[in-house]
């Protein structure tokens, strides 16, 4: 797929961070480094990357929309082309099934996203196992990481999430 625009949709969500100093709200955009994610994906895909707190643009025709499960629900309900949608922060045990059920371009599990946010790692995507990637890839065969045509995919030598996601999307 030729991606020309990457739009990461926050949905205006906030998180609550609680420490012994108290509780305070943190925008999810800031907590998950979504601006960095959009910028990295845009750079790697040779596209423009942006973040929006508003309604997502229609996916397709070069526009890749990235969002959490709530965003996916809305897009699916509106009949959007989910093949141009990347699911973000999917529950680990449901990531492959959600990706398959929605028919997503790719899915990113919450564990991997947090690994990238915290340590710059998280290089794993859930995508179609039949995609011919440009570099060697490991397609999971575990029952927990496969469902239908989708599976968890990692690439030796790729250590960060944006790179793994971009590699897969270029080949998809």
């Amino acid at each position: 797929m030729k991606v020309q625009r990457v739009v990461v949709v926050t949905g205006g969500a906030h998180a609550t961070s609680v420490t012994d100093e108290g509780a305070h709200d943190v925008p999810l955009r800031e907590l998950l480094r979504l601006d960095d994610l959009a910028a990295d994906l845009g750079r790697l895909l040779d596209a423009t990357g942006s973040v929006t707190d508003e309604e997502p643009p229609p996916p397709g025709a070069g526009t890749l929309v990235v969002g959490a499960i709530g965003v996916l629900d809305g897009l699916a309900a509106s009949g959007a082309d989910m093949r141009w949608v990347v699911g973000l922060r999917l529950q680990r045990l449901r990531a492959v099934r959600d990706a398959a059920t929605f028919g997503l371009a790719a899915g990113v599990a919450a564990d991997d996203l947090w690994d990238w946010v915290q340590d710059g790692r998280g290089a794993a995507v859930y995508g179609r196992a039949d995609v011919a990637l440009a570099r060697p890839a490991v397609v999971a065969t575990d029952l927990a990481d496969t469902f239908g045509e989708y599976a968890r995919i990692t690439m030796p030598g790729v250590t960060d999430l944006p790179t793994a996601l971009a590699e897969y999307l270029r080949a998809a």
Partner: protein, 516 residues
Amino acid sequence: MPSHEERDSSPARRAAPRPTPARAHPDPQATAVDVTGPPTSRAHVLALQRAVGNRHVADLMSGRTVQRAGTLDEPVVDAVEQRLAEAVSAQRSGDSTGAPRSGPPAPRAGTSAGAGRPPVVQRMRTLLGALHTALFGRAGNVVRPGLFGRARGPGPAVNPGLVGRFLQLLVRRVRQVHQQARPAPAQAPAALAVPVAPVPGAFAAPMVSAAIVAAAMRWPTLRRIATSLGLDPAAVAPTVASALPPGPTGPSATVPSATGPGTTGPSTTGPVGTQATGPAPVGPVGQPGPGGPGGPPARTDTLVPGLYQSIDPKAGLPGWTFTDIPDDRPDEVSIETLVRAPGGQAGRMVRTYQKGTRTLVLAEAFLHRIPKQDRWLPISPPMTARGTPLETYLTIRAMKILEATYGASFYGRSRPVHISTIINERSMAHIGAAAKKGVPLDEAARTCHSVQYATNAIVQSGGTIESVTFSIGTGRWVEARHIKDQQLLADYQLAPGDKVPYWFDIDIEVKGATTT
């Protein structure tokens, strides 16, 4: 107990009264003697001797006459012994007043006061005697009825020594745990601080007593004794949990199990900013839990009053960071909680509330990166003797958020709980083994690890398990060879080709105190 009597038969020694602490020769003729001030007579000296042995020093120093045994402070003993040595030295030198000599103090009683014995040997005897006393104690003197009235004689040890103290601490600790492990009649026992009874003169703090008990539990014999008392050795000494052999229960650290019901209840406002914490009390003995195979007890079948109410999602814990992210969908809302331990390790948990059916779904929990010892939270009141399991704490936090923000109501209510997409290997093996034996799947599910794991939040939210239903759902039966932990196959006597459920669901009907 070795006598400190000198065996030197030199005339000087024979003439002088021998310093004999501890079990001094009882003198039925002894009467109350004012022993304050410098020794002035043989009777005075003898009284001092008995005082050292009888631990009457407090009486002495306060000016009271010697009457009966009491407790003893070591520095005071030293002072009295010093005075005794001075008296002995004075008498030996012919000083009739017995007044202490000026100049360097005389050698202490029991040391090289006697002539003819090398000082090194004398010191060795003293050290050995002191060591013996330290280990085995020293008997005190008690007033006993005698033929001619009350007299003093060797009595029970008031200084039991380290060995005696160890045994006393062990017995007391075992009794405490056993006492509190008894089923609570109506109310759950209140959390108690570690009430290790102090041994007279003992310096050990409760942590030392726990360490002593922990060390004791390493001995198979003592562990069997604890077990015969109906105690879980790990409960008696949770610090040695890792040293115990693995048991048949305990979560697999490799696979999360979504468990745990939720309950509705009154939201309580806890302390602003910080969760109430407290020492881990000696609480009810529970069953092994998320500490891992053979880990410390992490669940109890008893509601701990105030535990659910005390957990405040907006209150933090020292060193911990909790980040809650809600995902509000049309039919359900999920609370994803990212937790960071004081050591920097991170974990995740997701709890979902299905709006239509008012079901709490235990979706997933990944806490294995957090060290086991950190997965016990010292909140107050604690759930078990070791504290409150992190998973239980996080589940209740999520339930509180759902109650406060999304209209859920759990505490004390009858409600369904759904454990979804179970791929916990231990649960898989358990149910597979039960199915192999023809045990009904619902019955097998009731005793599987996932349900046991869920029991914590169920019980602490004022509920009891009324029924458990197994469902393969969107999962499937797979061969046991797919279980990564092959030891489980041996534990559950499964052949690689036997079938075990994978990605299955369990539905729990929870009965609460109220019905809606």
